[in-house]
Symmetry: C2
Subunit: 132 residues, 2 copies
Amino acid sequence: MRIGELAARTGVSVRALRYYEEQALLAPERSASGQRHYREDAVDQVVLIRQLYAAGLSSKTIAGLMPCVVDGDATPELLRRLAAERDRVDARIAELLSARERLDSVIDGATSNLLTGRRCRNRTAPEPNAGP
Amino acid sequence: MRIGELAARTGVSVRALRYYEEQALLAPERSASGQRHYREDAVDQVVLIRQLYAAGLSSKTIAGLMPCVVDGDATPELLRRLAAERDRVDARIAELLSARERLDSVIDGATSNLLTGRRCRNRTAPEPNAGP
DNA sequence: CTAAAACCTGACGTCGACGTCAGAGGCAAG
DNA sequence: CTTGCCTCTGACGTCGACGTCAGGTTTTAG
């Protein structure tokens, strides 16, 4: 398939696909006229790439991992890096969970303030202030 | 305290603290000569700010929330935004968990490849390739 | 054959959270 | 008074993952 179809099927922009190639994350064939032609499994690869981006990996890091994923080839070094990235993701998740708790407590505090009718300072006039 | 001490006590840079003020996340007093002076609770506020950043909120969003946090003042609108942000954090966490699973499966695949001795292609020569 | 749609290669723009540098005060100690 | 550290205000630089525009070629539909 050509780049437009791959974009449509994966939901990523054409520009992004070209960028991925630039970063050596994808290596489509080229027709005689220079147009990119992707195989079916490119769809899965793009999905994987997006997930790794979502995990916070950089394009450089992903580029280092793609040979492993694509060829099934792996070295102990690569495994170490994969594990390290997983740990980083775990840490990020923990961070987010902590932040979420904090957000919740802020919400709880604010909610109870509202419920107990405790309006601080300048809410003395009952006018519904629509905007500036 | 002055900005250097606050930086030391929170672990964020002096530049970042000035930036936070620029974004209306902090509002320190000023001495006659123009130097910033922070109260003790600024430490907690900075910690909160960092957590909200870690949750993926933008400085603009955080700026909208700080009055609520600081003054304990809350409007239904603010509560909606807080809830929306929490949902966003939840979505991000789910994304990360999914990405983590994917990473794990990649690691598993690669590991079993190594364990079963299945070395693909160019690993024919047993020379320990040290570098480029 | 022709017009529209899709594709190509540069190359510059963006956005957010700061880093960094320059030049100029301010503040406590000796 | 001077030394040395801290602080101030601009203002430009950075980095990553693209967006966007320009100007040209290729493919497809009618």
